[in-house]
Symmetry: C2
Subunit: 335 residues, 2 copies
DNA sequence: CTGAAAGCGCTTACAG
DNA sequence: CTGAAAGCGCTTACAG
């Protein structure tokens, strides 16, 4: 109860218990049996420690033991299911490894990414998960120089990396769209959203094209619009397609849930008949999408497995040669 | 480049720079001018430190300075805009205060909440934000015993607390529903979701009743169904109302975005005519709700201001007498 | 069965 | 202008 000015240290406990710091430390770390401390002594120390509301200073312990017990992660943000799920899975896995999770969000800003990695390194994290970094390379180099184990997530870098199998996911999603689209001829499916040159987008485009070709349909360059993720940009892009075709395409692959907002924003401005038959898909998942007036096929990434694989790298159960590890996402059927 | 077994310490830098730890420390902390270190010496030390990829051990510094530079937060999860926004706002504010944010999610599990607070306390956080705790009291007591400044967020506790003005938000939302509902007579609005006895729910029910009374309509007990947040429970509750009334109520206040999933799940099983005129509202916000086939009024909580107020407590600009501070949420009109 | 002492990597009065 | 030394709160060989 007493709220002392300075929280009690292990020495204070030793004094109050009329014993030595050694004994207190041994007792508090549950090593007293191995050191043959008398049970009564141990019990007494524990009681005193509890009464004094003692809590070890993890920093001091870490300093002494040359380990921090910290596992670090940087992540762009928490605003979608994918990243929220990744960070929660990470926290759970870290705890299972006996580590304390330390997650910092970076807003996909390279400078904040660097700062976050630096501060985590300075806190002496034992491993570092680099998620969705705009450019993992310099961050990877930093970790290497500091001798800290790391894994890239979502975007592969120069070292161990775990990503969604974007190509497979896109292939499955596109396949589903094609099934729903009217048979040849027609507009062919369109791919909208994301950035050309960006890893995930490029991979998804590959999967998209594969599926289209496998269905013996055409995938012209003009069917692929990498206009960014901003809802407004996606809305504008769709508007342009609409004017050009004089209608919506038969199938629409929207790249990411953020882009999807823009797509829906545009589609709902149209009369019901205009989109009644649209085959719509989104690479990402959000439960509310199921409630849209048209069915939408979605790809849900497997965050749990991604984190497991990442820890496998850290644990040495997986070697960086096998990088990037691709984790299969799941196709979720709307309707 | 050289990846040494052990990262260099300040002593290593001193040795390589042929100077003393004192000088290195002073230079690295940018206090060399005040201590009249020769500029050349300073420059030299900086170069050596950079070459050696030196990064201070924040734990050691914290230990010495009797401060950690850490600001801690516990939060139920990141899976909705409200909590995701709270944690991101917290991180930003912490950085502005020159502190490193440390956020841990707890899944609304009292045991995990306790563990998280304990570990944060053991890391010697300088302040602790307790968000959405199932029971803040014991956590508040823990912080007090450790002499650590804390604030409760979302759910008020036994000390400084910042919450959304749930009553006001519910009042506004209900008012909006009533405007949209057919004039007397009719079913009156229904309130669905949440737990009786739980702070936020109770407050919102008060706001709901206030608005209903102000509109000179009735709010019977049977119009308020606190069936929990699970979508399935909410779906079942609505189904029951539906059978009982033989139709949907004229107005529906759904308590939380999670509950809202269940509500929509049920509504969409009905024919269009059944819900065409429903006045629907949700206490919480999600962009996709705007895309539903019926307009929905939503309440968006002001996470930025909540965090600002919370830091005001920590900074001593606000005193706990003023607790809980209520932050006005915003009514967002769907349609 | 228990304790004195060294050392983890820092910072800062103090002395010169 | 610069350095030797103490001490932050721990843990653990080592000695007894």
């Amino acid at each position: 109860m007493a709220k002392s000015a300075r929280p009690p240290t292990l020495y204070d406990i030793a004094k109050r218990a009329k014993t030595s710091p050694t004994t207190v430390s041994l007792v508090l770390n549950d090593k007293w049996r191995a050191h043959r401390i008398r049970p009564e002594t141990a019990a007494h120390v524990m009681r005193v420690a509890k009464e004094a509301n003692f809590s070890v200073d993890l920093r001091a312990r870490g300093l002494r033991l040359a380990r921090s017990g910290l596992a670090g992660m940087i992540i762009p943000h928490y605003q979608n299911r994918f990243f929220a799920g990744l960070s929660e899975s990470f926290e759970a896995a870290a705890r299972q490894h006996g580590l304390c999770p330390a997650v910092i969000s970076t807003g996909r800003d390279p400078e904040r990414e660097r700062d976050a990695v630096s501060v985590l390194l300075a806190q002496k994290v034992e491993s570092l998960f680099i998620t969705g970094a705009s450019d993992p390379q310099p961050l990877n180099a930093l970790c290497r120089r500091h001798g800290v184990a790391f894994v890239n997530l979502d975007i592969p870098g120069n070292g161990p990396s775990v990503v969604s199998d974007n190509r497979l996911g896109a292939n499955l999603l596109t396949g589903r769209l094609l099934e729903r689209m009217p048979a040849w001829p027609g507009t062919g499916p369109y791919f909208v959203g994301g950035l050309a040159g960006e890893y995930a987008t490029d991979e998804r485009i590959k999967g998209f094209k594969q599926a289209v070709r496998a269905a013996r349909r055409r995938a012209d360059a003009k069917q692929i619009i990498t206009c960014g993720y901003e809802p407004a940009e996606v809305e504008a892009a769709l508007s342009a397609i609409y004017s050009q075709l004089g209608r919506l395409p038969d199938g629409l692959f929207v790249n990411s849930i953020e882009a999807f907002e823009g797509a829906v924003q545009f589609i709902r401005t149209l009369p019901q008949e205009a989109f009644a038959d649209l085959a719509l898909g989104c690479f990402d998942w959000n439960p509310f999408a199921a409630f849209l007036p048209i069915p939408v096929a979605m790809v849900r990434q497997d965050v749990k497995t991604m984190i497991d694989r990442a820890f496998a790298f850290i644990d040495g159960d997986l070697t960086a040669d096998a990088s990037p590890v691709r984790v299969a996402p799941t196709l979720i059927d709307g309707g």
